[in-house]
Symmetry: D2
Subunit: 340 residues, 4 copies
């Protein structure tokens, strides 16, 4: 292994650029050496050049074939994730893969099997685990100093809904939005989910109904360790990105507040007003994106344990599938009903 981790970036869209920029600016012991994107254009090439990525290609195969690539970042569209994982594994490259690996469970399992067989590292991009506040909550739970977890709660709301073109193909609120929270509750509880029960409705835009989706949902969960939990999502919270987690334990509770745009506040004869929560995931989880990449690079270079592995990629998809069935059939769904 070279002293620096040499990275091949698959996908030069928003999330690819984010990871690429983070690697070049903040990760001294890693560098992006090649970018592959089938839609490569002048703007993308200029961006790559501006941050020191020297090679660009439209063909992903160039990345897998490159002898000087130690690891890949899969930031392409979801439907390509599993195939790229398998190709990377076959080429002996470590893999950082954006979530979800796939929406089809058999496909995920096939990809995970390939990774395991190849013996390469795999990290899945559940970035919220690296947020300093959520992580502080989880660290308290995991330390055991509050005793056993009893109730795990996540409130997660976007500032504004996605375009309907996205809703059409996203797999629905459980697969495209709450999937982060399914990961978060597993992370906080330190336990797998055994049963879910979903409630949902369309409130912000009738368009969701056309695509058989909801925009507002509450899911209750049971965990293997006996805890229970609840997640509430809404695609449109006009005050910004609401991201709060909470764990009630035997000896106390631990939770977090939103991060605000700033800490100033104004007191007048009418009211006391402060700034809003940071606007969306780029603002809130900015530092967390860097932290997850640091962890991956550290793992590849120094053998540190991967913090979000293959099973962590699979389970949220299974929970999302169970939630979808629960909502449709109006009944609690056991995870044992879902292909494992």
């Amino acid at each position: 292994m070279a002293k620096k981790l040499r990275i091949g970036l698959l996908g030069g869209g928003r999330i690819g650029k984010l990871h690429g920029t983070n690697v070049q600016n903040f990760i001294p012991d890693a560098e992006v050496v090649i970018l592959a994107d089938p839609f490569l254009n002048e703007e993308m090439e200029e961006w790559a050049k501006s941050i020191g990525i020297e090679r660009c290609t439209k063909d992903p195969a160039d990345v897998f074939a490159a002898a000087d690539v130690d690891a890949v970042f899969i930031c392409s569209s979801t439907d390509t994730h599993a195939d790229f994982m398998m190709q990377a594994a076959a080429a002996g490259k470590h893999i950082f893969c954006e979530k979800p690996i796939a929406t089809d469970i058999a496909k995920i399992k096939e990809a995970l099997a390939a990774v395991e067989k190849a013996g390469v590292k795999l990290q899945v991009g559940f970035v919220r685990r690296f947020d300093r506040s959520h992580k502080a909550v989880r660290d308290v739970v995991a330390s055991g100093k509050l005793g056993k977890p009893y109730v795990v709660k996540v409130c997660s709301r976007d500032p504004a809904g996605p375009p309907m073109s996205y809703v059409k193909v996203s797999g629905g609120i459980f697969m495209d939005m709450m999937i982060h929270d399914f990961d978060m509750v597993r992370y906080l509880a330190g336990s797998d989910v055994t049963e879910v029960s979903a409630t949902g409705t369309v409130l912000t835009d009738p368009g969701y109904a056309e695509y058989d989706d909801v925009d507002t949902a509450i899911v209750t969960l049971k965990f293997e360790n006996g805890a229970i939990g609840v997640i509430d999502n809404c695609r449109q919270a006009p005050y910004g990105y609401d991201q709060r987690v909470e764990v009630l334990c035997e000896k106390g509770a631990v939770q977090d507040n939103n991060h605000l745009e700033n800490e100033a506040y104004i007191s007048t004869a009418e009211t006391v007003c402060s700034a809003k929560p940071t606007y969306f995931f780029l603002e809130r989880y900015n530092d967390a994106f860097v932290a997850e990449t640091k962890a991956f690079v550290d793992s590849c270079l120094n053998g540190a344990e991967i913090p979000v592995g293959g099973k962590d990629g699979l389970e949220p998809v299974r929970i999302a599938k169970a939630a979808k069935i629960s909502l449709k059939e109006g009944r609690p769904v056991k995870l044992s009903e879902i292909e494992a």
Copy 2:
């Protein structure tokens, strides 16, 4: 009607004493003129005397018969509430009744019918509606300035569980504890509940299982106006009485924080620490108990509208019954399944 509202107090236990003391100390236009309690003893008589209640009796009939009693406060054990309501109604006395009216729906309906026929006023003791913070939340929702309510959330946890002797007869967590929250979500949403789905478990003390009860529960709800909601309860939150409500609306959200014992905080090299939430309902809802009595007295004397009426007494019991069935049968239960 006399200038002062003359009250007959039924029940000299903890909650009876609380209301009696509040009336004598804080409600200038009301006075307790008689106390009836079958377990009347010297201590109770001394307490009555010390706050200026001149007559004491073991026989509730003395209260209903008294010509100088305008209204009764029913603070006796739950199983007597409905009968006392009917006797009071028959005697033409206004009624303040502690919750629940009864755990049997037919009984509640019988009592409500008697009240309606007699044309007396009835207020049910859902005291949390009068808490200054919860009320501020509800007033914002009711004002309509945030648009339609989307998601109603209540977190309600007791600092310590009740004795098992109470659990045995209480009717279970939905009837004895979450019933307050069933009232609260109706109050906040400004709408009736149409469906509930309950999850629950035993975590704090295996004793609950013996009485077919749970100590930790999450209930999701649907409302007539299209909103959805969730309540989480735990009988034991070591940090105190956790009482938080939240409503996400079309144009924003409104919620409240716990009331703390004081506003001091200490910053050291390790952490920044503040006081805990106020310990339990007597500390948190102290002012609210006075406020609900003021509202009742105002209603009796000046014709103001009763803020928590008969239907508000009935509905939470129906929701509790639905939640109990949902938990037992592992399915969502429509309120239309429950006797109305």
Copy 3:
């Protein structure tokens, strides 16, 4: 001494009514038996009757002469405090005296000497010491767990200025407003003030200048124990009664936030808004008024130590005088320059 402390109330104005009502409603082992006010009128007599004060008189001498009076509450105008203290002492009555004892130091000393000679108890009405948050701050400092105090800060602002008729006779901002803060810093620091340096100006209303007063002032202080401190006052803070204290110590800091009207807050696309601080001293220090009376009664009946004694009445007046000289002469003033 009777089982109940029998109190003679001198003064039936705002503060007299406040203390009288508190005693009757909240202090079970005390009762007001007589009210004296030279301006006694029908309204005052009705108030007295309504809360169970049976005797009213225009002549304070009736109070001192009454055999059934154990203690007096001096709530009359400031210029009468010292004389009433001396008369009460001569009659062997314990004394609760509103602040300040007098604005003339010789007069205060004469009154304190009379109290000492008579051996009666004396408590001065610095009510803020009994506020739950300020007290929590002071208890942390006094516990020593944060080590020695370094910096003591008090921010104290009124929601609106007093009428100019009051400013004319009040003795100025240091004597009528900051005097509370001079007491508070002594209480927090656990030490006497040795030097003050005052800055002040007229910003809210030019009327203050006509009476040789300021409406906005900052005073820095040195303490015997080596700490330093600062107080800032303004007579007009439109957002309400701002009352915050802070002590930086060797091993950490302890401070408090304002008490808000309620704990609700609204999040919208523009901002997050909460309630304002409680409006003024009646709202903020409501509970503290009861607590100080409880402490006094406990001291008279059970020999508990008086929490705010004669020296505590004298020192803030001396500091106020020093601050006044400092502002006028533009120099730090040592307390040793002021009559002790």
Copy 4:
């Protein structure tokens, strides 16, 4: 002018590296092309190379002579600032200079005159103006929506004192620490200081006294616009970097809270604890360092107004000198007494 601003970095110590790294990573339209440091060593050269600075030299003259340098960042020791400014001005380079320009007023004036004569841009490194919370406070004041400023307060405490070797040469607490706050109050008040009065003492380490310095100080100030203010400093606040500002205005107040390490908090049977403030200036003002550089580059490239100019560099030094005299002589000192 080239499309990118080409920067010569003078000084490769802690603050030089900070600025150099920020320019290379976060300022797309600027680049550091040369580093000069008389103590240039292998480690420094490696650092330069790692972030893409291609030329390194021990001789600052190489920077001023370089045709491809548009602007310099003066990050060398304080005693070289003014001379470097003059050399840069003579060479027609724009100047970003770390604070203070000098501790000698005549020297500062000489340097400012040279800058003005040359017509180059000058920005002084008062980074706190670019902190998102302090800036939000100032923007509210500057907007005028709260009316005129009345009282300006700054609390500024370091987590731990500097080494005594630094104290020996730093110029004292007013020149090395409170100088930031002197800038901040001018920024917040939008007005110049006309008079200061200082109180100070040695509490954390007797070593300060040996160097005629204090470790804890409170300074009150008067402003040209009629406002008054107060700053309190302590070199050792064990809970971290305490940085709070507050402005009371005619129609309300605006203030800020510290930034915390994270937003998690734990509630137990004893207390509710959160994270501490961010540890020191690198943690708290990290983003502000980037923002000030962006502003400078924008000014050089696009003609935007320099946000912290020559007078802003001079005035805090004058105030610091006045504070030093005030502390020594025990009297308020007018700024008119200090060379302008």
